[in-house]
């Protein structure tokens, strides 16, 4: 039978469908995912390789302690952030009381504080030689430590408090968004059916927000597992500290990798919980009718309590430490503001900026690739490449070191064999290693936000641009990128700030004698020289506030039906 193809000539430049997987987007994404996943794979691989009896030794000595401490830390921080985060989110989104407008965004401020920074500060304030205890001794005439009881800040409880104070905003942010998304009709229905505001909260609002809350708490726990600065300073034996200890003090790669693998099991549970909650979240939009939230007017004691409940986390999580930090910075400005500080600031800034640009570029590449070619392989690869965010920095650091070490050694061996030149360690202990570590850890952040904003651009835009003669790259550059410019900025900012704060990866991966603001703060504060480090710490906090501001603006604007009514 004759077909049109027999008469018409084939179009020039057409692609063969059978080879369509051989495509820059698919290949690129697969390669990126492979490279990014390499450090995690390396950790697991090494831990499974039989070595000396280190595992036996670890299991019989420190492992039980690491497990119980890590679990207690997770339970403590999880509960703390849950109560503070959900409680304040409910208050500011559903009630009216003095300062509500300010608390809406101020409750996010502690996000700008790295846990290790407030750990140093509170230790400084609360330890035996600190101003509080000195004041108490003065007042009651106590002379020695044995005369009175005072909570020891350098303890598991202390670490839990510090992390809770700076991590609760994750839960606050997500549960607030969930409360704002809830249709007031559902709550009104509950009220009409005879349940009071409090019972409505527990029987309707809270269950509806549950997926978001679980996501928030999982993120918090991932951060808690990632923390190194606080537990190191407080000498709380968590896994992260253990890995660091086995790696650097016992000089045992296999042992560190084995600990890291056990820690990964914790992480897998968190990732699964988070994924599960995200999947559930989709079914929780009950209606499309939105109205401004009710704003129960609080009076009397409830009013005071609400204000207090929102004020305390902000005060202890941000205002007080930031104030003390600012004070110290003024006092020690002369000594702190020196050439070293500028070098460290430059290091931090350039490393973070470089990573931010790379992470967003790669994020755009992958997200657009998935959009263009809706293939299962690509989606799996992209998920794989996003795993780094859940993996604690110490684990990644071990993986990156092992991976780069292997690469370096192979290159060196090859070069020696063929050209009789020793190249030594090309990547290990370089800026490139640090950047790579950052990328592995923060790629998910940029990818997720690019993917979300691309998802809001109708596919018809692609169709229109393509039919008007623009190829895939040109369409990305001229249509999508300008349309999602805001989210790209936000994504680079978040990666930038996270890199500025990053400690465990940087400490292990940095070149010899190389400091960022974070490692500098860590080193000086550990040596009880907080004053000298205060300016650096304040700088980190200062940059950390940027995304907090943008986030807080976004969250108030995002609620459908909450525009004009809210202006009243």
């Amino acid at each position: 039978m004759a077909t049109a193809a027999t008469t018409a000539k084939m179009a020039e430049g057409a692609t063969k469908v059978s080879l369509s997987w051989l495509n820059v987007w698919t290949l690129g994404t697969v390669m990126i995912a492979m490279i990014v996943v390499l450090p995690i794979a390396a950790v697991i691989f090494i831990s499974l390789t039989p070595s000396d009896d280190i595992w036996q030794h670890l299991a019989s000595t420190v492992l039980p302690l690491y497990i119980s401490t890590t679990l207690l830390l997770m339970i403590g921080v999880g509960l703390g952030t849950l109560i503070i985060g959900v409680g304040t989110a409910w208050l500011v989104s559903m009630c009216r009381f003095p300062g509500k407008r300010i608390f809406e965004w101020a409750l996010l401020l502690p996000m700008a504080m790295p846990a290790y920074v407030i750990a140093y500060l509170y230790t400084d304030i609360l330890e035996y030689a600190g101003p509080i205890q000195a004041f108490l001794r003065e007042m009651f005439g106590w002379t020695t430590k044995r005369d009175y009881w005072f909570p020891e800040i350098r303890s598991l409880g202390g670490a839990i408090s510090m992390m809770t104070l700076v991590l609760y905003p994750y839960v606050y942010l997500l549960s607030r968004a969930a409360f704002m998304e809830q249709s007031i009709c559902v709550l009104e229905a509950s009220r009409v059916l005879g349940r009071g505001p409090v019972r409505s909260f527990f029987s309707v609002a809270l269950p509806l927000a549950r997926p978001a809350i679980i996501i928030g708490v999982s993120l918090v726990l991932m951060e808690a597992l990632n923390d190194f600065g606080t537990v190191d300073f407080f000498a709380v034996s968590t896994f992260t500290l253990g890995i660091y200890d086995v790696w650097l003090n016992m000089n045992n790669v296999a042992g560190a990798a084995q600990l890291a693998t056990v820690l990964l099991i914790f992480v897998i549970f968190l990732v699964l919980a988070e994924r599960f909650a995200r999947r559930k979240k989709r079914f929780h939009h009950t209606t499309t009718k939105y109205k401004a939230l009710p704003g129960y007017l609080l009076e009397g004691r409830a009013r005071t309590l609400a204000t207090l409940a929102c004020a305390l986390p902000v005060i202890f999580g941000f205002v007080l430490p930031a104030g003390v930090l600012t004070g110290y910075s003024f006092i020690h400005f002369e000594t702190a503001m020196n050439a070293d500080f500028l070098v460290y600031a430059f290091n931090s800034f350039s490393l973070s900026a470089l990573t931010a640009v790379l992470a967003v570029a790669i994020g755009i590449f992958m997200a657009y690739g998935v959009r263009l070619r809706n293939e299962r392989l690509l989606k799996v690869m992209v998920r794989l490449a996003s795993l780094g965010y859940a993996v604690p920095g110490a684990v990644l650091a071990v993986g990156v070191l092992v991976t780069l070490g292997t690469v370096d050694n192979s290159i060196d061996a090859f070069m020696r064999r063929t050209f009789d030149i020793s190249t030594g360690l090309l990547f290990s202990g370089t800026i490139a290693a640090v950047t790579f570590g950052y990328l592995v850890r923060f790629l998910a952040l940029s990818f997720g936000s690019v993917e979300a904003s691309l998802g809001k651009v109708t596919p018809n835009m692609d169709g229109a641009a393509r039919s008007l003669g623009h190829g895939a790259f040109s369409t990305l550059r001229r249509v999508h990128m300008p349309m999602i410019r805001g989210s790209l900025l936000m994504a680079s900012m978040m990666v930038f700030v996270d890199c500025m704060k990053e400690l465990p990866l940087t400490i292990i991966l940095r070149p010899f004698n190389f400091h960022t603001l974070a490692t500098f703060v860590h080193q000086y504060a550990s040596d009880e020289q907080l004053g000298e480090a205060s300016l650096a710490a304040l700088s980190i906090v200062g940059f950390g506030i940027l995304p907090v501001i943008v986030l807080s603006l976004a969250i108030t604007r995002s609620r459908p039906g909450h525009g004009k009514e809210q202006a009243q």
């Binding site: 004759a2 049109a4 193809a5 469908v17 169709g463 229109a464 003669g469």
Partner: protein, 372 residues
Amino acid sequence: MKGLHVFGLSHAYGDNQVLNNVGLMIPAGELVCLLGPSGCGKSTLLRLAAGLEKVQKGTIAIDDVTVATPKMHLHPEKRSIGLMFQDYALFPHLSIIGNVTFGLLGMAADKARRLAMDMLDQVGMASHADKYPHMLSGGQQQRVALARALAPKPKLLLLDEPFSGLDTNMRQTIREETLNVLKHSGVATLMVTHDPEEAMFMADRIKIIGANGTILQAGRPHEIYYHPNHEFVAKLFGMMNHFEGVVLGGRVETPLGSIATDLREGLAAQVLIRPEGVILESNGNGPGTLVEVTSSQLLGHDNIVRVRLNNGEGEELYVRVHHTFEVELKKNISARVDHEYAFVFPLDEELGNTHAMAPDPAVVEPKAAIAE
């Protein structure tokens, strides 16, 4: 041949066959409408022609160049097509002139601007050139989208429900304007719609796609309306009066008189009569059957009247009349059929399909293409 040539196209999403051996030919300057219910695959055909989806079976050629087969795929940007979406998909970050010049690649900026302004002038939007899409009304956005699609002088224009986003008042004006612009440009146009009236108004030829993805009937609007070859096609234009009977002596009896048919003798048949095919006459002694009016509703330019047969004893009929019809005054009324609006189909749907499947001209046309 200049224009679009689609041959033997089949497409399925999983088990859902949305296109089934569809053929289509649109010479330059002609407008063909694909008409069918939602989900019947008409938009898929559009997306396949545009290159937004890959062909599973069949061939697509534009201006005698094959652009897609199951083995090869020319990207949309290389096909020289214009595409207009239901939501217009104007680029929100570009001005109107920026949108229209977007497709004028490799052209000097001043020349591109002149051409785009000319195009905007044709659709009456030249004065809005420096505004942004969100500042325009729906109708204005539609005009800009048309100008944008036509500016690069495409070989084929694809319109996906181009008027469904507009309110009723606006729609007719915009349709007429669009038709003028299209005739002026001489481009081959494929338009997808679910609105039969729109297809009738716009199309040189209409192709009707059924729910199973086959083309049920193809022809000029007049043929589709007056000579539907399938029950489904007849019912597209709205509610029908329905009678059942048996073919006897080449006719089927109905309460309104017998209707001629070429169906096989003795076959169970159904008769469908358009509401405008029932003629009411106030003279009760006329040639028709006596009926009683039960209700009359004014819909604007015409009236929907319900009447009962057998002077109020029998079935209810649905009648469209063009003048105001006052129930109280019309006591003694007779109804008869205008045979132009009465169609006979087999009662059994399976049989109906085989009967109705007149050879689709596009399926046999490739031979002509060979001769060229």
